[in-house]
């Protein structure tokens, strides 16, 4: 890496894009939201509400009910009643019809939902509109199709639902994670008590409206809002048959400890520190795009983000130059602006955590690069960041930062790349970039991660199972594998 760069491109052009914002009015928000239990919106027993704010303006968007133990108990009771009384007895094709109906209403209200998601969570409208919402609808459509075909999914075996599923979801893809959890649970005949993250409850509450509109039998889906203690009440409730959690590894470990000794089923989808491996024979300009999508998608608040870049030494200089140039064109700012590429960091706490890592990385001796993009005055912002010359032992290469921060390392041989990629406590995803098919198969087979993308990154589809190894959790969501997480599967003739 000795050659000096001389011919720099400049992207701070005279021709700038004027703001092109969606109107926040499109979110059509209420002043306050209650808990959704047994098909109705009900006030919290303790009478407590908390504010949900916009991370891009710090304005309060709405008051949201805080569910305590008693509310969770009500929700579980409603879910149990619905499970025993209607949902598990319903013809599977009828369950499918409800899911199709929910999917269609989501599509009809997708603009409202996208704007709400960007307001409440800070992600750019381009992503909530073009990625989150289409995926949300497709998850419901996909699982609607499975509802009456489960015997085909598990040929030669018998399946039955588990009962009441307690589900806890994170703030990075609020509505999409709700869809990932609710759709398979319902398709397989379970009922649900779900808790959205306290910083992003609004789209889940709109989903409650949609569920009402779709006339789903009361109690099949219950949505309880609140913070950690609400989640804990779900996990500890004795009448819950299964816990599905997506979130931090730390909380995941806690949940697993809590469930030890119980017969509750558990799936965990936790953190990650994925390596994106770029070989010298890769199509570099397209690899750069994949690296950008891998780490700057959703401000890097992605558990499967490609937060480590492993680049072959022979092309490191060229690739980093191209990456820096591409970063120079990224627009950071108002999540509702259609031209925004990187929105607001989801919360002040998360911003603080990311900023902490920026200090750590520099202290460890990695070379920091940030673009000189302008940032709005109010709100939580972090410019896209590279750490060059990171080493395997740096904390920025080992720990999940969950922000738009990429640790760049080099390697010389295929084996070294594989070793470095796997040398992490996590194992959620990985990326391989090469023009050689044989190398792509060789490397991707050896990356210990639930998803490995080749010559692309961060591609999601409801038909494709998603989940981790090691500290990234266990269990799969999506595809036939994802159904299994909500079913008792027994050999034909065997006992349950």
């Amino acid at each position: 890496m000795a050659k000096k760069q001389k011919n720099n491109l400049k992207f701070d052009t005279d021709w700038q894009y004027d703001p092109a914002p969606e109107s926040p009015e499109l979110a059509k928000l209420n002043d306050s939201y209650d808990l959704f239990i047994d098909g109705k919106f009900v006030k919290p027993t303790g009478g407590k509400y908390f504010d949900t704010t916009s991370p891009s303006s710090h304005k309060t968007l709405a008051k949201v009910a805080e569910a305590d133990k008693r509310d969770v108990a009500k929700a579980v009771t409603a879910a149990r009643k619905a499970y025993e009384g209607t949902w598990s007895r319903l013809r599977p094709s009828e369950r499918g019809k409800y899911l199709f109906r929910i999917a269609r209403v989501i599509q009809e209200r997708s603009r409202e939902l996208a704007v709400t998601e960007s307001l409440d969570g800070g992600k750019p409208i381009r992503e909530s509109r073009d990625i989150d919402l289409p995926l949300v609808a497709s998850h419901f459509f996909y699982h609607a199709g499975w509802a009456d075909k489960l015997s085909y999914a598990f040929a030669g075996r018998k399946v039955s639902p588990l009962g009441v599923a307690g589900q806890i979801i994170p703030w990075n893809f609020p509505l999409l994670m709700a869809a990932w959890k609710i759709a398979p649970a319902l398709a397989t005949g379970n009922t649900v008590v779900i808790k959205p993250a306290e910083s992003t409850p609004l789209t889940s509450l709109k989903l409650a409206e949609i569920i009402q509109e779709a006339d789903l039998p009361p109690g099949v889906v219950n949505i309880v809002t609140g913070a950690g203690s609400t989640g804990e009440a779900i996990v500890r409730h004795p009448d819950v048959d299964k816990i599905a959690f997506t979130g931090s590894t730390e909380v995941g470990k806690l949940i697993r400890k809590t469930l030890a000794g119980t017969d509750k089923r558990l799936t965990l989808e936790l953190g990650g520190k994925a390596a994106n491996i770029v070989f010298e024979d890769a199509a570099l300009d397209q690899a750069v795009e994949g690296i950008v999508n891998g780490i700057f998608f959703n401000q890097g608040h992605v558990c499967c983000a490609g937060s480590r870049l492993l680049v072959q030494e022979s092309i490191a200089e060229t690739l980093v130059r191209k990456l820096k140039d591409r970063m120079g064109t990224l627009v950071v700012g108002d999540p509702l602006d259609k031209n925004t590429d990187i929105g607001a960091i989801n919360s002040k706490e998360q911003l603080k955590k990311i900023q902490g890592y920026l200090k750590v990385g520099q202290r460890e001796g990695a070379e920091i690069f940030q673009t000189s993009c302008s940032l709005p005055k109010r709100g939580n912002w972090c410019p896209p960041t590279l750490f060059l010359n990171a080493s395997q032992s740096h904390r920025i290469s080992q720990e999940e930062i969950f922000g738009p921060v990429l640790a760049v390392q080099t390697f010389r041989t295929v084996d070294e790349a594989i070793d470095k990629a796997n040398n992490t406590p996590f194992g959620l995803s990985g990326g391989v970039w090469t023009d050689k098919g044989a190398k792509a198969f060789h490397v991707s087979e050896r990356i210990k991660a639930g998803v490995v993308w080749t010559n692309t990154f961060n591609k999601f589809d409801p038909a494709s199972p998603f989940g981790g190894y090691k500290e990234s959790g266990f269990g799969r969501e999506g595809g036939r594998h994802g159904l299994e997480a909500y079913l008792n599967v027994i050999e034909a003739g065997g006992n349950r």
Partner: protein, 300 residues
């Protein structure tokens, strides 16, 4: 750079990735003053083109008049960059356009097929330059390229460049015949190393003509050569860019691929005939708030 080095350096291209990058450009929302600026910039980058067997001197004169006087009610407008004609029309065009800054471009080298003896193609080039063409749009021998005779393609470009003298050379790759994006990249690399001042997608006589995918691959070739060697080469997508919306998307792609320096008619051109009127119509709409009938914009 030797041809073997050029070919060895030509990178693989992933067409799926290219299509995804292009899709990102098309989601940029260009409104208000940024739209007005883009419309005017696009107008100034047009090579107003007539390349038909039925062209007459009168037709070329009318086109040149239009190039100089785009719209009577909008005096602040830029002019187009050039008028692009067959070699036989160069004299007439030059006469009409003298002293007004609009360049005369001639398609030479047995446009559009290039299927002719190289000596004839060079003689045609020299003739066009002698008649006053300031820019030469040549075609490469696609048959030779597809047969793997890259040396021939490289040599013909070098020879035509020499015949051009002071005139600027645009090398038409005819990407619609090259089939793959990797071929487009390879042809771009060969053309740039052989001395092209501009690389150009298409003749307009073959479908598909310019596409955003092909143009992106060519822009990235230009970027790589600039960053490796400092050489500055221009880009001209031609054919199929028929309205303002498409043109603005190309400008977004240009801005985000090559940046500030290339946002000028000196380094980027649109080869188009109907684009100018649509841009004018949009400019009027931006300033007056209403669309005028197409009858208010002259046909020439």
């Amino acid at each position: 750079m030797s041809l073997s080095a050029t070919l060895a350096n030509s990178p693989p291209i992933d067409s799926v990735g290219v299509a995804e990058r292009v899709a990102r450009f098309t989601t940029r929302s260009i409104k208000k003053s940024s739209k007005m600026e883009a419309l005017k910039l696009a107008l100034s980058m047009i090579d107003l083109t007539t390349l038909e067997g039925k062209d007459t001197e009168d037709r070329v004169r009318r086109l040149c008049y239009k190039a100089r006087h785009l719209h009577v009610d909008l005096p602040e407008l830029p002019t187009v960059a050039a008028v692009c004609v067959y070699p036989t029309m160069v004299k007439v065009a030059r006469e009409e356009l003298k002293d007004c800054g609009v360049q005369v471009a001639a398609v030479a080298t047995s446009f559009p097929s290039g299927q002719d003896d190289l000596s004839l193609r060079i003689r045609q080039t020299k003739g066009a330059v002698r008649d006053g063409a300031q820019e030469i749009d040549m075609v490469i021998s696609r048959g030779r390229f597809l047969a793997g005779d890259y040396q021939y393609v490289s040599d013909e470009i070098v020879a035509v460049k020499e015949a051009c003298g002071e005139a600027h050379l645009k090398v038409i790759l005819e990407t619609g015949e090259l089939q793959t994006l990797e071929n487009v990249r390879k042809a771009s690399d060969i053309a740039i190393d052989a001395g092209a001042d501009f690389i150009k997608t298409s003749t307009g006589k073959v479908q598909p003509a310019a596409t955003m995918e092909v143009t992106l691959v060519m822009l990235e070739a230009i970027r790589d050569h600039f960053q490796e060697t400092g050489k500055i080469v221009g880009m001209k997508p031609a054919g199929g860019i028929s309205n303002s919306k498409i043109a603005i998307r190309y400008l977004v792609m240009l801005r985000e691929t090559l940046g500030n320096r290339w946002l000028t008619p000196d380094l980027f051109r649109f080869g188009a005939s109907s684009l100018a009127n649509d841009l004018l119509m949009q400019i009027v709409k931006q300033s007056s708030g209403v669309y005028q009938s197409s009858n208010y914009f002259s046909l020439d």
